[in-house]
């Protein structure tokens, strides 16, 4: 039988008080998706929405349960395809507006109502390149360990052990335990 793992290490020192406060890191999904049942992730092809910060290859979070409002970025059905545009109203008629001057607006005809597939609630744009070289750049530090000037990288490891007989000078000004004050 597999031995169940204990959540707290009971024998070694004090139990961690922090345990009571920790129920996992926050979830990106939970934060950006309010209606998981009706939310779909789709990907963008094309540059017609760059003005809205939506680039080719971005991921869009689309919630189908939201009622489209003027100004929303929406996924609409045009010619049997899913298209991302900004929804505007002009003279009481819906207009699909690309956020790129190179593309024309789409104004729906009176005959047929515009089919809106869903409302875009956000997009994810990948910043870092996929093929990284991971070569460290000069002049960049990756930790906030105490800076020791004029010494090499070994300095951190070679620092004085913390618990030594004499108390460091800078502690002197603090009140000490057992001191009556």
């Amino acid at each position: 039988m597999p031995v169940p793992l204990s959540l707290e290490a009971v024998h070694a020192g004090f139990p961690s008080v922090a345990q009571d406060y920790f129920a996992g890191d926050f979830s990106f999904d939970q934060n950006v998706i309010s209606n998981p049942d009706t939310t779909f992730i789709v990907t963008v092809a094309g540059d017609s929405m760059e003005g809205a910060g939506i680039w080719d290859g971005d991921l869009l979070v689309v919630d189908r349960s939201l009622t489209p409002q003027e100004g929303d970025v929406v996924v609409a059905v045009l010619d049997g395809e899913l298209t991302v545009k900004r929804l505007l109203m002009s003279h009481g008629k819906p207009v699909l507006h690309p956020e790129n001057p190179a593309y024309p607006d789409f104004i729906s005809s009176d005959a047929q109502s515009l089919m809106i597939w869903g409302v875009v609630t956000g997009n994810f744009h990948r910043q870092s390149r996929s093929h990284r070289k991971d070569r460290p750049l000069p002049g960049i530090s990756r930790s906030i360990s105490p800076q020791t000037t004029g010494q090499g990288e070994e300095s951190t490891a070679a620092q004085k052990p913390r618990h030594e007989g004499s108390r460091p000078e800078r502690w002197a000004s603090y009140p000490q335990r057992g001191h009556s004050w």
């Binding site: 092809a45 094309g46 049997g80 298209t83 690309p98 593309y103 597939w117």
Partner: protein, 437 residues
């Protein structure tokens, strides 16, 4: 006032799922094909209108269908399951007592009177239609059997706007409403019963409702007597809440037809190892161990040139186990001796029997079950879930083919799914694309 039962059922569910991410299919005849692209298993309304019936072999109608502009799709079960889970979750928030009855239908219980129930169901239907793009029909009645009938009514009568309250329909049409339902369409009346009932002159739902219940009990069964009572508005078919939990089954079967016949034990053990792995996964999910492993294979019964061969052998395991290595080995060993290498086989399968609950099986230390204590099964599942099916596997189970249609393994015999649509909700590399151009 009796409690109202609600049956919500998606219209042409598989075909509707295909249309969600591909709006060009809306208003076109769409058919979904079974495993190996064999038969039609679902049709969009336009395809129904063309007169294509379920179960028709695709090759028989392919030519004509292409001419008629019919779009055929392989069964995309991954997509359907994802859409089904979303749909059930949405509907479960509108009414209590949800009982998921199949991939595309569920029963619910309304705590309210007829008018409020109608209103809530209309909102529920709207939420699924806008939120997922899946049309559902809703039947409301005092019993499950009548709710089924009301649901069919809603599907057949567009004026109902997808929601039918049976008492309203009966008020308007009187006995005609039930009389218009052929007896074979009554829930719980199978094909065999239909013939026997028709012989007694019971040809529609009204006849069955008016039949003498003790005669029905004596000549048929208590189950059919319950159907009679249900048609009279007496709720007597209990919920099966287990359907929600994914009930533990007493045996696990994993079996498929091959896309082309296979010969030789090498290929057979390859198939058996893939099926064993799948069966183990289900075993682990329901928290069971199995005591016996059964394997079978058969040649085509239609091939008259050769003798029909059907092999089936069961091996007991030394100890109850859920270890994929042990189970896979047992499945292969079961068929090794009786195997005829000259025959060509068209199907095979693995059955896990003698299932015991993992928690119930306790013995003295040192005599434990051969459980998967290395967690191998879980690792296999996790790797395949994360990196795609058949990336790793036992033996030949890990040889991966190219492309979606042949993704289970690289073997020549795996399911043919040439017309598979993207699995837009479960695979990052098959996400739907929206145009910005």
């Amino acid at each position: 006032m009796a409690q109202l039962l609600v049956l919500a059922d998606a219209n042409s569910f598989y075909a509707s799922c295909e249309q969600v991410f591909n709006p060009s299919l809306v208003d076109r005849p769409v058919v979904v094909l079974s495993n190996n692209d064999g038969c039609v298993v679902a049709r969009s309304p336009k395809a129904k209108a063309l007169g294509i019936s379920n179960g028709t072999p695709w090759f028989q109608i392919q030519e004509q269908a292409m001419e008629d502009g019919v779009v055929a799709r392989s069964s995309n079960y991954e997509l359907y399951a994802s859409m089904s889970a979303r749909m059930m979750s949405i509907m479960g928030r509108f009414l209590p007592g949800q009982e998921v009855y199949s991939i595309d239908e569920c029963f619910l219980r309304s705590p309210w009177g007829p008018n409020k129930t109608m209103e809530v169901c209309a909102r529920m239907r709207e939420a699924v239609l806008t939120g997922l793009g899946i049309p559902v029909s809703v039947g409301i009645a005092p019993t499950k059997t009548l709710a089924k009938i009301a649901n069919h009514w809603a599907k057949d009568h567009p004026a109902s706007r997808g929601v039918t309250l049976w008492s309203q329909t009966e008020e308007r049409y009187g006995d005609q409403a039930l009389a218009s339902v052929p007896i074979e369409e009554v829930w719980g009346v199978g094909r065999r019963l239909t013939r026997r009932l028709q012989a007694l002159g019971l040809v529609n739902a009204l006849d069955l409702r008016q039949a003498d219940r003790s005669m029905i009990r004596h000549r048929f069964s208590i189950t059919l007597e319950r159907t009679v009572l249900e048609l009279r508005g007496i709720d007597c078919i209990e919920d099966q809440p287990d359907a929600n939990e994914g009930k533990r089954s007493g045996q696990i079967i994993c079996s498929r037809m091959f896309s082309q016949p296979i010969t030789g034990f090498d290929q057979m053990s390859q198939a058996l190892s893939v099926y064993s792995q799948k069966a183990c996964r289900r075993l682990r999910h329901q928290g069971s161990l199995c005591c016996q492993v059964s394997a079978f294979c058969a040649s085509s019964p239609y091939n008259t040139a050769r003798d029909y061969i059907s092999l089936h052998r069961t091996l007991p395991l030394p100890n109850p186990s859920d270890d994929p290595l042990i189970i896979c080995k047992a499945a292969c060993d079961a068929l090794r001796d009786p195997f005829d290498p000259r025959a060509s086989y068209i199907r095979a399968g693995v059955v896990l029997v003698g299932l015991v609950d993992k928690g119930d099986y306790q013995t003295l230390p040192g005599l434990e079950a051969d459980q998967d204590r290395h967690g191998l099964g879980m690792v296999l599942d996790e790797v395949n879930h994360r990196f795609g099916a058949a990336r790793v596997g036992i033996g030949y189970g890990g040889i991966r083919g190219q492309g979606k249609g042949d993704e289970d393994t690289g073997a020549s015999w795996t399911m043919r799914r040439e017309l598979l649509s993207p699995r837009s909700t479960t695979r990052w590399d098959e996400m739907a694309v929206v145009r910005a151009s």
